[in-house]
């Protein structure tokens, strides 16, 4: 099959950037989208041009590196699929495909399709952990975790930190990411001692970088791991409760 790519090129963070058009022939339906870009890059290099820069690593939908808007949708047309898991059999022969980097103020462009997502790490550093220094842990089976709780925490913990949620959100909000990271820990018995301080710290950090959530739900639709916006509801509930809990914990009524 053949496809025509309209692909964003940008030399650096301050460069203007523009779309470039590329025809790629001999595309196999079994190829993944990133393998398509690999093939394009081999040609560009041989022709003396710079290849398209894009973040990628595992090629199996778990590291969260790959991050392309494909025809205006984060990670492309398939539900629950990261860019690297999208195969060309999902496109028509002769398709015109627009490829862009994640679009969000909090994710400045580095080059071509690579963006800077370190704001996510700042949110986790603010409180997305359980304080348990190595060696202090009790026997693992002393902490009972109801199966339903473990499953729900795992559902939240499945977030790969790719940023599709932010890219898909009209407000550039990071609620789904933050809620996933937060609820993974807030749902578990181990996470209870720090639950309220964690919630406030992570939400406050998030608000430094990202837009506000107005319940569009685009994030859930774009998420390659199909994380539920129910976790955002839990985040909101925990945030409100935290305002009261913090005061009670400090001895005030």
């Amino acid at each position: 099959m053949k496809v025509t790519l309209k692909l964003w090129r940008q030399d650096g963070p301050d460069a203007k950037g523009a779309f470039a058009s590329y025809d790629v022939d001999d595309v196999s339906p079994d190829m993944s989208f990133l393998e398509l870009i690999d093939v394009l890059n081999e040609r560009l290099i041989t022709d003396g041009d710079e290849p398209v820069a894009f973040d990628h690593d595992c090629r199996e939908g778990i590291c969260g590196s790959c991050s392309m808007m494909i025809n205006g949708r984060a990670h492309g047309p398939e539900l629950g699929t990261a860019t690297c898991q999208l195969h060309m059999r999902k496109f028509e022969d002769g398709a015109h495909i627009t490829v862009e980097p994640w679009r969000a103020r909090a994710f400045p462009i580095i080059k071509d399709l690579c963006v800077d997502r370190s704001a996510f790490d700042r949110i986790v550093e603010a409180g997305g952990y359980i304080t348990a220094p190595t060696g202090t842990a009790p026997d693992a089976n002393l902490i009972l975790v109801p199966k339903e709780v473990a499953d729900a925490a795992m559902d939240a913990a499945a977030c790969i930190g790719c940023g599709a949620c932010v890219a898909a959100c009209p407000n550039g909000a990071a609620q789904l990411f933050t809620a996933a990271k937060l609820q993974h820990l807030n749902l578990l018995p181990q996470g209870q001692p720090e639950r309220w301080s964690r919630t406030v710290a992570m939400v406050d950090e998030m608000e430094q970088w990202f837009g506000s959530c107005t319940n569009h739900g685009e994030c859930e639709a774009a998420c390659p791991k199909e994380i539920s916006i129910d976790f955002i509801a839990l985040l909101n509930r925990d945030y409100i409760r935290a305002q009261f809990k913090q005061r009670r914990l400090a001895g005030q009524k």
Binding site: S28, R59, D121, A132, A150, A157, A158
Partner: protein, 641 residues
């Protein structure tokens, strides 16, 4: 270059007491003195993140270097099946001793006993630590931890989080690391790649790194350097590794004097998705845990063209169950891989390219119901469906062996220090615990053992005597010379302006290694590789094309450096395979096999660790042998019948 002397520093005493005795014997650094020491950790996977977090918690100053944009991108994130722990929660006969024994046997009696025993010992602490951090392991209905079985074991000792255990373990370590970054004990340098190790007076004093965004080359100086940079599977180009996984950090350390041990011990994982074409960029792993519920088979008649679901049991050859009744589909990886290769080589392969075998869940789905299978493997089935367009709930998976893990790596002693003082090596980057074959669910165990429990206990022994000294200044000649060499290498790659891409050379290297140094090695095939590789390497330096400059993000340039190192590493790996005239674990020499086609070891002549010293001449490295003495385990021909 001075001759290396290898002293494993194994403590005296009964094997079960060695680690406890050692922890008492090593020097400690007083809590209020720890902040005076700076440790550089390279790599942010399970080994690196757990080490950096724990050292930070203890009070050391840590600089963590990763070429990724975030520590949680390290390839540990992709590990699927589970982590072993000798808890015996299943009450089926497990113990620290059994885990130790299974691992030594699984390694085909080529691992250092004392290290393996320690690994089994701390495996129980690892599970505790992970749970405390909030790793969402699968639970039984009563709230207790669930377990599953894994290859090479007859007990159920593997803890898991769906088919994404590596992800959850890495997130646990990453979160602990994030806390230390927030507290200021760890400084994170992302998008920074280590391109050289720096020594002064024979000791490791730092590294040279390159900022991948603006190309700036700069030095990082510390009291000790820790490499946790993963394995070298990508020397084969196609492997289950992530695209950026590479051997440059350990190769550069090797060129600076660190011995590299047993590079020929490479693991081929039996269940990966078969390649579909030349453009394939990597091979995707289908977790070993699937072999709990999947049965491997090929049609008895190679010309059988019926769809798999229409072939009745009588016409199927469940060859692993036939050949190895006691372990069946759960034989260790090297045994399973060779068995599948035999079927395909003899013309019984399945799939459009006849390059796979079936992994069939039909019977389990009938017995347990689709929901139970979905719970255990949901994400893996989805992954398979996306890649092949086939639904494993309706038809069997097609799988074939692929390069997955590397047991070889930099040589380390019992403290995990290499022969270069001050250079520590953790996780897959070192050679120590898995011998010639790694059991499933033990890589995650080893990375965390090394980072959470071993290094934090042993590093004090090296640091304590240095109290009062500052790290070497980064404008010292040792650093500026190393920086200049890195600059030269980078410039050289950019100025060749040849006709072939980096990937072209990488693919060619991968092909010759897979064909000649893959699952079945012979003197002829290895010598062929030794002709191919130096030729390819010369051509690379004369004809590679890397466009762009070194002052902005340049992924071709990054790859070029890594492939240049692979072109040297690959040759050493082949030389190691050629010299080891026996078969053991993942190293199979066709000239040395039993009548049934199993690996035939030569314990009299080869019961040692082959640690190679870089001499400057790639054609003539020097071999050092560390003899392996087995006091606790009786050597035997591995049988899984």
């Amino acid at each position: 270059m001075s001759t290396i002397s290898l002293d494993a520093r194994i403590p005296e005493g009964p094997i079960a007491d060695k680690w406890d005795n050692h922890k008492f014997a090593v020097k400690l650094v007083n809590p209020s003195n720890r902040r005076k020491f700076k440790v550089i950790v390279v790599g942010s996977g399970l080994g690196g993140a757990s080490a950096a977090a724990t050292l930070g918690e203890l009070g050391y100053e840590v600089e963590l270097i990763t070429f990724h944009d975030s520590p949680r991108r390290a390839h540990s994130i992709a590990a699927q099946g589970g982590i072993n722990g000798a808890k015996n929660y299943r009450n089926d006969g497990d113990s620290v001793y059994r885990l130790f024994y299974d691992t030594v046997k699984g390694g085909d009696y080529r691992a250092r006993e004392a290290n393996v025993y320690r690994l089994a010992q701390v495996s129980v602490n690892i599970i505790d630590q992970c749970v405390a951090q909030g790793v969402p392991f699968a639970r039984e209905y009563g709230g207790l931890l669930d377990n599953r079985s894994f290859g090479g074991a007859q007990v159920s000792r593997t803890f898991y989080a769906r088919g994404q255990t590596g992800q959850q373990l890495l997130l646990g370590a990453y979160q602990a690391l994030a806390r230390q970054v927030h507290l200021g004990n760890v400084t994170l340098h992302n998008r920074t790649e280590m391109l050289d190790l720096v020594l002064k007076d024979g000791k490791a004093v730092g590294i040279v790194g390159r900022d991948l965004i603006n190309g700036e080359v700069r030095s990082f100086s510390g009291h000790a350097v820790v490499l946790a940079t993963g394995g070298y599977g990508n020397v084969f180009y196609l492997s289950t590794n992530a695209k950026q996984s590479n051997a440059s950090a350990i190769w550069r350390a090797h060129r600076r004097g660190a011995a590299l041990a047993n590079p020929c011990y490479t693991q081929i994982h039996p269940t990966c998705i078969p390649a579909s074409d030349d453009f394939q960029s990597k091979l995707t792993l289908m977790s070993e845990s699937l072999r709990n519920d999947g049965r491997i088979w090929v049609p008895k008649d190679p010309s059988d063209t019926r769809p798999a679901s229409q072939i009745p049991d009588a016409d199927r050859d469940y060859y692993l169950e036939r050949r190895y009744p006691a372990f069946g589909n759960l034989v260790p990886r090297d045994v399973a891989s060779r068995a599948s290769k035999k079927e395909v080589d003899e013309g019984r392969g399945v799939g459009p390219l006849k390059n796979g075998v079936y992994l069939d869940f039909g019977a389990s789905i009938d017995r347990l119901g689709r929901h139970a299978i979905e719970e255990r493997y949901g994400n893996l089935f989805q992954m398979y469906d996306r890649i092949t367009g086939e639904d494993p709930y309706q038809m069997p998976m097609r799988i074939y062996p692929a390069v997955h893990y590397t047991m070889g790596g930099l040589w380390v002693d019992y403290n995990l220090m290499s022969n270069v003082p001050g250079l520590y090596v953790l996780g897959e980057a070192n050679f120590s615990d898995h011998g010639a074959n790694r059991l499933g669910a033990s890589a995650l165990m080893q990375g965390l053992a090394d980072g959470y429990f071993v290094l934090p206990a042993t590093i004090g022994d090296y640091l304590a005597p240095q109290l009062g000294s500052e790290p070497i200044a980064t404008d010292d000649p040792v650093f500026s010379e190393a920086e200049a060499e890195v600059d030269d290498r980078v410039r050289a790659l950019l100025s060749v302006n040849g006709s072939r891409t980096v990937d072209w050379f990488h693919r060619e290297l991968g092909k010759t290694l897979w064909d000649n140094c893959g699952m079945a090695r012979s003197k002829e095939s290895l010598e062929q590789a030794l002709t191919d590789i130096p030729t390819l390497r010369d051509e690379f330096h004369k004809d590679v094309r890397v466009n762009g400059d070194g002052e902005s993000l340049n992924q071709s340039l990054e790859k070029a450096g890594r492939v240049a190192d692979f072109l040297e590493f690959g040759e050493l790996m082949v030389r190691d395979a050629l010299h080891r005239e026996e078969s053991c674990g993942g190293h199979f020499r066709v000239e040395h096999q039993t009548e049934e086609g199993e690996a035939l070891r030569d314990d009299e002549d080869f019961s040692y660790v082959g640690a190679w010293e870089y001499t400057g001449d790639l054609a003539n490295p020097t071999l050092h042998k560390e003899p392996l003495d087995f006091e606790s385990v009786k050597l035997a021909q591995r049988s899984y019948k």
